[in-house]
Symmetry: C2
Subunit: 244 residues, 2 copies
């Protein structure tokens, strides 16, 4: 297990990932911490090509969805627990926002534990942040019932590339002792200096005809307009699934 | 790294966890996947006894807060990124719900990567789900600015106990192939059978004078009333911090 040398893998060999291996890794990952030991998550395994075709546009046609042997959609799940409560004449009060956050947290800890185990096994993974962009579409394709919500997706397969590691901010820029020390302009310059200096990032600035890298993020990659539009859709989907 | 043999550790030796070790582990954990490589998180390190005293009631006085040498509050942080954008004349549109979810996801993947690394090093950890119960209190104590929100807390120290591993649901109960297969009553019985049969759980049922374990969860541990009350507080804190 070597988190410090990991990289995201987007190209996979055609070799399959066996059900046995996948089950063993998911089973071990379920040892991750979970709120009150409730295990508020489910995972939907996609191997079928037709199902991948249906998921693909919901992930903006990122090619990993079609090319990875396995696509895993990790879902916050209070449905199973609630069903258990109903069967036992217990009043399950989990159709609310806090319960969504609890289940989403459980889900992400489980997902990251799985990712680490998979990478230790030599598998490559890629997170698809697009999972919460059009959640209603994923809910429909996967048939997720009330109190189940897609939180993240990873594609999994045997690596067919070894990309350079991407940059990270200096730890000092993320770490606060005792209290949050707010930044001053010099701190910000220092924290983002490496990122701004990288040739590939300067290339993005040039081809997008922007003044700097921050504008590539705000004007091209993660725009206010998109974020606000997608926020509305996500809140609607949360209502639809019973969490708001 | 041995996730499958892990257990949550709530009792710690008085030995310190050095700054050097903590920094190395946090730095390695930052290799975890992050949305667009934005690293939308900060971590506040609490070692000071007075600060622990102030955090303790916000975590319902769980003794780990006072007894662990280190308490780490992992926060979703779009403030630093937004500050960078402002400094670069870029329109940062991250004061919305989707951005909160993106930052919270980044935070939890980072936290779980750290937890795995810390446990590999022989450290013990305990997650405090209480972090989102009274977020405004934590925001005030740690001085978190707008667009920063506490997501989870872990206590960290050298283990002074080796508890039994807790139970987990059978993997088949969490796994769905291609589509979410809804449960029937028999599935629910089978999935929760082990949990319901455990002597410690039967003991909880008895001392709480309940009919079954599900009622211990719904009537004592995670009640509708508490969940609804805490949901309101969390949504208010999200508004206050600029994410809604």
């Amino acid at each position: 297990m070597d988190i410090k040398n990991r990289r995201t893998i987007r190209k996979y060999k055609t070799d399959d990932v066996s059900e046995e291996l996948l089950s063993r890794l998911l089973d071990e990952a379920a040892r991750a911490a979970t709120m009150g030991n409730m295990q508020l998550y489910s995972v939907v395994v996609t191997r079928d090509k037709e199902m991948k075709h249906r998921l693909s546009p919901l992930h903006f046609n990122q090619p990993m969805v079609m090319n990875a042997p396995v696509v895993l959609t990790f879902c916050a799940d209070f449905h199973r627990f609630t069903y258990w409560c109903h069967q036992r004449n217990a009043d399950a009060g989990y159709d609310n926002f806090l319960s969504f956050i609890n289940a989403a947290s459980d889900t992400l800890l489980f997902t990251q534990a799985f990712t680490t185990l998979a990478e230790t096994e030599g598998l490559g993974t890629c997170y698809l942040g697009t999972t919460v962009y059009q959640p209603q579409g994923i809910i429909d394709v996967l048939g997720l019932p009330r109190l189940v919500f897609p939180i993240t997706t990873i594609t999994v397969g045997w690596p067919d590339e070894m990309p350079e590691q991407t940059d990270r901010l200096p730890l000092a820029g993320l770490l606060h002792k005792e209290k949050y020390h707010d930044y001053v302009a010099d701190d910000i310059d220092r924290i983002y200096a490496l990122k701004e200096s990288l040739p590939e990032n300067q290339h993005f600035v040039a081809i997008n005809q922007k003044e700097n890298l921050a504008q590539v993020f705000t004007d091209c990659r993660y725009t206010r307009r998109d974020n606000e539009f997608l926020s509305t859709g996500m809140l609607e989907a949360l209502k639809q699934q019973g969490f708001l």
